[in-house]
Amino acid sequence: MKILVAVKRVVDYAVKVRVKPDRTGVETANVKMSMNPFCEIAVEEALRLREAGAAAEVVAATIGPAQSADTLRTALAMGADRAVHVLHDSPDPARPLLPLSVAKILRAVALQEKPGLVILGKQAIDDDCNQTGQMLAGLLQWPQGTFASKVVLDKEKQKATVDREVDGGIETICLDLPAVITTDLRLNQPRYATLPNIMKAKSKVIKKVTPEELNVDIRSDMEVIQVTEPPKRKAGVILSSVDELLDKLKNEAHVL
């Protein structure tokens, strides 16, 4: 069985993000870019499933400009077998690639690769959409297990048992394969890219395609008009008496 893992190149989690002066988007020039942390967890899970014998091959895929190949190389250095790079440059920051377009492209890739399982991060840390996995499952008409904190694969029965982290607690569901799983933080601790694996990764194949070749129309029907920083938090005020508190609640905050 093959596992397809989709990864995204985003601004590194530890970077202090700033809005561009022209307010068209976030500053990404000269800023460290890395693989989305949830995508790292997805790659790690796929590798563990392969090492446990539940899958034979792990294929990493990404959609983005030429530099996104770095993200794929990281996935390969972690241990993925092959990679697919869907080239897409978004020169217009007002029309970035949105989850629906990403899901359409991944659907095309999945139909080509025919994996038994598609694993994605639950959301990307740049847009926090949390939509791609769910949309992909819908387009493919496959079952989905999102916010996975545990995945157990049964190869003979072709089923996946997924523990999902939901607001009410942990929900355990059973999916028929092929299925889509999105990873949550507590699923695993991603491995480091070791030197021997980095060496091996140099000879691994990255297939390049374009959305046109996949027959996917990714025209965006949404336009970003403005990006601004949230208003700065005002300092708190220390009050000296209950009367002052009541006065402020009544006359300033208007809650009484």
Partner: protein
């Protein structure tokens, strides 16, 4: 004791005193020319035993003997020439600093009286918190006239007992002087007060696209004034060099209250003797640094960190040579640690992951590169490491793929010091040794202390600087006897420095002769007498009392 008297005495004791090796008068003359050696005594100064220790990092102190030992060879008596505090003094200080600037509260004093390791404890009754250079000047001028001893205190993170009182010296803490005065964001020149915390300065200049030229594990607490007064080295030394090169100007208050304004922001200024160098590294014994101007290098966008394991120490050395050659201008850190350090870090630090769990290897190296082109640097580092693996220098390794992974690697290296304090008692030595011999002392020390203690070796291999730590459950004179003076003699024999970057402080105040010639020490004493005739600044430290 004057130089002449000492020389006479030594001649008389010719046969008894240590035999110096062939006198060579090269610049870094390292004759093992000992002053009359004294028997080892644990230092039991007027420490208040059983006093509640408010310092959080010394949380093991209650399990460790409260007996604060010192490496001082003999018991230092409180110099009776210093006056004792009286109520008139307190009133005067209150009149110039205000009520908030004069601290006599027991709990706050308890914290200020103990060093970061919980090893040295003073008995000061007064902590002063000036807010401006004028206030510092008035304090010192008064203390000089009254002959009150003073300890300048920054972040109190020093490791040789230089930042806490020995007896009842008045502590002058500069935490209130933490303003950034100006920043030239074209040339990267930062001017600020001495009480600024290093991490805050880092954050500030990084926002402007620059970085501080030094970085150390204590950055969250240490003050830049203290860093300069101790000529701190740190993790970036290999790339940006010493503070002697990066500090452009200082404002210093001398012992008699004179304000010496040398706060220039010029890169080049060859007018007269460059006095600031006297104060950089003099550990607060020649003057109190109040303002600084420092050159900050440009922040380069691409950083890569690799964590590697090597079979033996020779490989680490060869790797350093290869790194210098192949990574060249982008190399920004080269740290090494032995597997004892990694084990310790994993046991005692929270939230760290072992980058090479399956590695049975003995030595680990952390390499960092910083450059302007991300993909070029990464390719260069990968190529270098893969070749190093093929050549057998590197047994295994990982490269950080994002900033969190890089921080994890650094956390391990920076946390070794913190982790070692949690074991109990730490005997810390900071030595400059020729790189080929660097690890030999660790192995010798291991065989000397045997099962009684754990010996760690780690440090800035790129600078030839070893941090030798010997850990045990509690401070024990038997263990100390195994360590000293052997470690100093060994280092001296290798023509190394007994204090690469930590300074002399109280811990090594009697040890300067292992690394400096008597003539040099005499000149230092003359300078000290010139700048501080009443010897009120940080007494009992840095220079041996016998030369003053």
């Amino acid at each position: 004791m004057s130089w002449r008297a000492a020389a006479r005495l030594l001649r008389r004791l010719g046969s008894v005193a240590a035999e110096p090796p062939a006198r060579d008068h090269t610049v870094n003359s390292r004759r093992t020319f000992h002053w009359i050696p004294s028997p080892q005594h644990p230092q039991c100064g007027p420490r208040t035993m059983g006093r509640y220790d408010a310092q959080h990092s010394a949380n093991k102190a209650s399990e460790v003997q409260m007996h604060t030992f010192g490496s001082a060879a003999k018991q230092i008596q409180r110099n009776p020439a210093y006056s004792e505090l009286n109520s008139d003094d307190i009133s005067y200080f209150k009149s110039i600093l205000g009520e908030n600037g004069v601290v006599q509260d027991e709990d706050r004093l308890a914290v200020a009286n103990v060093d970061w390791m919980g090893k040295y404890r003073g008995a000061s009754q007064l902590l002063l918190l000036p807010k401006s250079t004028t206030e510092v000047s008035k304090i010192l001028s008064y203390c000089n006239s009254r002959r009150l001893a003073v300890v300048p205190q920054g972040g109190n993170t020093g490791l040789v007992g230089g930042s806490v009182p020995v007896y009842d010296e008045v502590i002058v803490g500069l935490t209130g002087m933490d303003k950034i005065i100006s920043f030239d964001n074209v040339n990267g020149i930062l001017t600020c007060e001495a009480g600024c915390v290093l991490e805050n300065l880092s954050t500030f200049v990084e926002n402007e696209g620059f970085i501080m030229p030094l970085d150390l594990g204590a950055k969250g607490s240490c003050h830049i004034g203290g860093n300069i007064s101790t000529n701190a080295g740190g993790l970036r030394f290999i790339r940006y060099g010493s503070l002697h090169g990066n500090v452009l100007g200082l404002e210093v208050v001398l012992a008699n209250g004179t304000v010496l304004d040398m706060l220039t922001t010029l890169r080049k200024d060859n007018t007269g003797y460059d006095l600031k160098h006297l104060f950089i590294g003099s550990e607060g014994s020649l003057g109190v640094v109040t303002k600084i101007s420092v050159l900050t290098p440009a922040k380069l966008p691409s950083t890569n960190v690799a964590f590697l394991s090597c079979n033996d120490y020779i490989s680490c050395q060869k790797l350093l040579l290869a790194a210098r050659r192949n990574l060249g201008e982008i190399l920004s850190a080269f740290e090494f640690m032995d597997h004892h350090c990694i084990d310790l870090a994993m046991r005692h630090l929270e939230g760290v992951q072992n980058p090479l769990p399956a590695s049975p290897y003995k030595f680990f190296v952390l390499i960092e590169t910083t450059g302007s082109d991300g993909s070029y640097d990464k390719a260069k580092l990968e190529a270098f490491l893969l070749r190093a693996m093929e050549d057998g220098l590197v047994a295994d390794g990982v490269i950080a793929q994002d900033i969190s992974q890089a921080s994890n690697f650094w956390r391990i290296r920076e946390g070794i010091s913190e982790a070692s304090v949690k074991v109990g008692a730490v005997y810390k030595y900071d030595l400059s040794i020729p790189v080929e011999k660097l690890y030999d002392i660790v192995e010798e020390m291991r065989s000397r202390v045997g099962d009684n203690a754990e010996v760690l070796g780690y440090g800035h291999l790129g600078d030839g600087n070893l941090h030798l730590n010997i850990l045990s459950k509690k401070y024990d004179d038997n263990i100390l006897a195994q360590i000293e003076p052997f470690v100093y003699e060994w280092t001296s024999a290798q023509r190394g420095s007994i204090s690469a970057e930590h300074g002399l402080g109280l811990m090594k105040a009697e040890k300067i002769h292992y690394s400096k010639s008597p003539e040099a020490v005499q000149l230092m004493a003359s300078i000290k007498r010139l700048l501080d005739p009443n010897s009120i600044l940080n007494p009992y430290k840095v220079l041996p009392p016998s030369v003053l």
